[in-house]
C-alpha cells in the first residue's frame, strides 16, 4: 500500500493500488507509516527515498506491505531514523515554494516512487 500526501500519486494510482492519502505534511506521512509499522506492516521503500531533503519538499510517498506480519525491526529503525532526520532540517524554505515548484516536487516524488513501483 502507498501512503502519500502527494495528490498526483493518489490520482494516478488509486485504482491500481491501495493508496492512503494523508492530507498533511511530510512528517504526517512518516508518522502514519510508523503507526502502520508498529502494527506489523513492513517498509518496501526507504522513507527518505530521495536526496531531496525534507527542508526542500513537502511531499512524500512511501510503500509498505498490505499484510501485517511480525514486527519488522529494520523497518522500525528506518522510520525512526527518518523521523529524527526530518526533524533536524529547518522547514523555513518551504514557505517560498511556488506552484511551479510544487508541481516539480510532486513530479519528483512520483518518479522516485515509480522507480520502485516498476519492480512491484
Amino acid at each position: 500500500m502507498i501512503i502519500t500526501n502527494n495528490d498526483w500519486v493518489l490520482d494516478k494510482y488509486k485504482d491500481s493500488f491501495n493508496v492512503i492519502y494523508i492530507d498533511g505534511s511530510f512528517k504526517d506521512v512518516l508518522i502514519a507509516v510508523r503507526d502502520k509499522l508498529h502494527l506489523g506492516h513492513e517498509l518496501l521503500t526507504h522513507p527518505l527515498g530521495s536526496s531531496v531533503k525534507p527542508s526542500e519538499t513537502p511531499y512524500k510517498s512511501i510503500i509498505i506491505t498490505d499484510n501485517k506480519k511480525n514486527l519488522s525491526i529494520n523497518s522500525i529503525y528506518m522510520i525512526e531514523n527518518a523521523i529524527i532526520t526530518y526533524d533536524k532540517f529547518s522547514k523555513d524554505k518551504l514557505k517560498f515554494i511556488t506552484d511551479k515548484i510544487r508541481d516539480d516536487l510532486k513530479l519528483i516524488d512520483l518518479t522516485v516512487l515509480e522507480s520502485a513501483l516498476n519492480i512491484l
Binding site: R34, D35, H38, I76, Y77, E80, N81, I84, D87
Partner: protein, 347 residues
C-alpha cells in the same frame, strides 16, 4: 589583557596530599603551582589574577556549599575566563574541576576550561557541556597539557571561534564542527584502511553511537519483600500532562506520585509520547505502565511494595541521543529511596 582565575586542588597547591584533602576553599592572589606554566604560555596576553585552592574531599563532600563559596570568590575578580586543573587521572579532582567549571559557566556566564585524562570520571560527566582538554594520565604530562590548554584558553577568553575537537585538543563533545584536514578524504581513507589491515591503531572520524555495557546486578533475593519501582520510556503522565513533557526529545522527565492509585484510567492518565500511535495507551495507560497488576501483586504479597513514585520519559528505543543524563539523575534517587528493583517498560 585577559583576566583569569585558576582552580587547583590541595596537592597541586603544595598544601599536602590525601591528609590535607579536607581543606576548604581559599583564594590566593596571583599564581600558585601549575599556574606558573600557564602564565608563561600566556606571555602578556593573559594574567592569572587569582588562584582558588580547595581540598578534593572537601569539594566532593560539600559540593553545594563549595560551589557557592567558590563562585563568590571568582565573581569578585570579574575574570574573562576560568580554568580548572588539569586533573590528569585524579578522579575526585577531575570531578571537582568539571563540577566547578560547569557551575562557573552557568552562574557567571564566562568561558571555562579544564583538562583531564580521558578515563577520569569527570570527563564523562562534563565533556559534553564544557571544553575539557584531553591530557596524559599523570602530572608528568603537565607540559603537554599546558601546551594544549593555553592556546584554547586564550581563544575562549577572547571569544574567538573554536575549531573542531581534533584541532583544538578538547574531548569530542557531541557537537560536530567542520574544519580542513591536511589531506583529502580519499587519502585519509586509504591510510585508515592500511592501518586497519595491519592491525594498527586508527581513529574513526565519526564514532558510531556508544554501545557500552554495564554488567548485570545480582538478582533480587526475595522478591516478595522487595520494593519495586516502575520506570517507563512510554511517556505515561497524569491526564493533561501537567509538566508539559514534550512529545519527543524531551528536555525533562516526569516523576509522579502514585500513592493510593490502584489503576490507571483514561480519565486520570495518558501518554505524552509522540513516538507511537497514542490511542491504545490513552484508552488504558496500564498497557504501558502496569500499575493495576502490580497493585494486585502487592496485595497478594507477590512483591514487597510498589515504590511511591514512577518516572517517565518519552525516549524511544532507537534514539541515539538518549535520556542518559535524566536516567543517571533519577537512578540516584531510586537508590536513595531504597528501591530494590526496577521494572522499566518501553514501547
Amino acid at each position: 589583557m585577559l583576566k583569569i582565575v585558576h582552580y587547583i586542588n590541595q596537592f597541586f597547591a603544595n598544601v599536602g596530599g590525601e591528609e590535607m584533602a579536607h581543606i576548604p576553599a581559599e583564594v590566593r592572589e596571583g599564581i600558585v603551582g601549575p599556574g606558573l606554566a600557564f602564565q608563561q604560555a600566556f606571555k602578556d596576553e593573559a594574567e592569572i589574577v587569582a588562584t582558588i585552592v580547595c581540598g578534593d574531599s572537601y569539594f566532593n563532600e560539600n559540593t553545594d556549599e563549595a560551589k557557592k563559596i567558590i563562585i563568590e570568590m571568582v565573581k569578585k575578580y570579574n575574570p574573562d575566563l576560568f580554568i580548572a586543573g588539569p586533573a590528569f587521572n585524579a578522579g575526585r579532582y577531575g570531578v571537582a574541576c568539571g563540577t566547578i567549571a560547569q557551575a562557573v559557566k552557568d552562574e557567571l556566564n564566562i568561558p571555562v576550561l579544564t583538562g583531564m585524562y580521558i578515563e577520569n570520571p569527570g570527563a564523562d560527566m562534563y565533556k559534553n557541556n564544557i571544553y575539557i582538554v584531553s591530557t596524559k594520565n599523570s602530572a608528568a604530562g603537565m607540559r603537554d597539557a599546558v601546551k594544549k590548554m593555553a592556546p584554547l584558553a586564550l581563544k575562549l577568553g577572547k571569544g574567538e571561534k573554536i575549531g573542531a575537537s581534533s584541532e583544538e585538543g578538547y574531548m569530542p563533545n557531541g557537537k560536530r564542527v567542520n574544519f580542513f584536514e591536511k589531506e583529502r578524504g580519499s587519502k585519509r581513507a586509504v591510510k585508515m584502511l592500511l592501518a586497519k589491515l595491519n592491525d594498527k591503531e586508527f581513529e574513526t572520524e565519526f564514532p558510531m553511537p556508544d554501545f557500552d555495557r554495564v554488567a548485570p546486578n545480582k538478582a533480587v533475593k526475595d522478591i516478595t519483600k522487595a520494593k519495586i519501582a516502575l520506570v517507563t520510556s512510554g511517556g505515561i503522565v497524569p491526564k493533561g500532562n501537567p509538566d508539559h513533557i514534550e512529545s519527543s526529545s524531551a528536555s525533562k522527565y516526569g516523576k509522579y506520585d502514585i500513592d493510593g492509585v490502584m489503576d490507571l484510567t483514561e480519565e486520570t492518565y495518558q501518554t505524552a509520547h509522540g513516538g507511537y500511535d497514542p490511542v491504545y495507551a490513552n484508552l488504558d495507560p496500564d498497557r504501558v505502565l502496569p500499575v493495576d497488576i502490580l497493585r494486585e501483586f502487592e496485595k497478594e504479597g507477590k512483591i514487597g511494595s510498589l515504590h511511591r513514585y514512577f518516572y517517565t520519559t518519552v525516549g524511544n528505543g532507537t534514539a541515539v541521543k538518549s535520556a542518559k543524563a535524566f536516567a543517571a539523575e533519577y537512578a540516584q534517587e531510586l537508590k536513595a529511596d531504597g528501591v530494590d528493583a526496577v521494572i522499566l517498560t518501553s514501547t
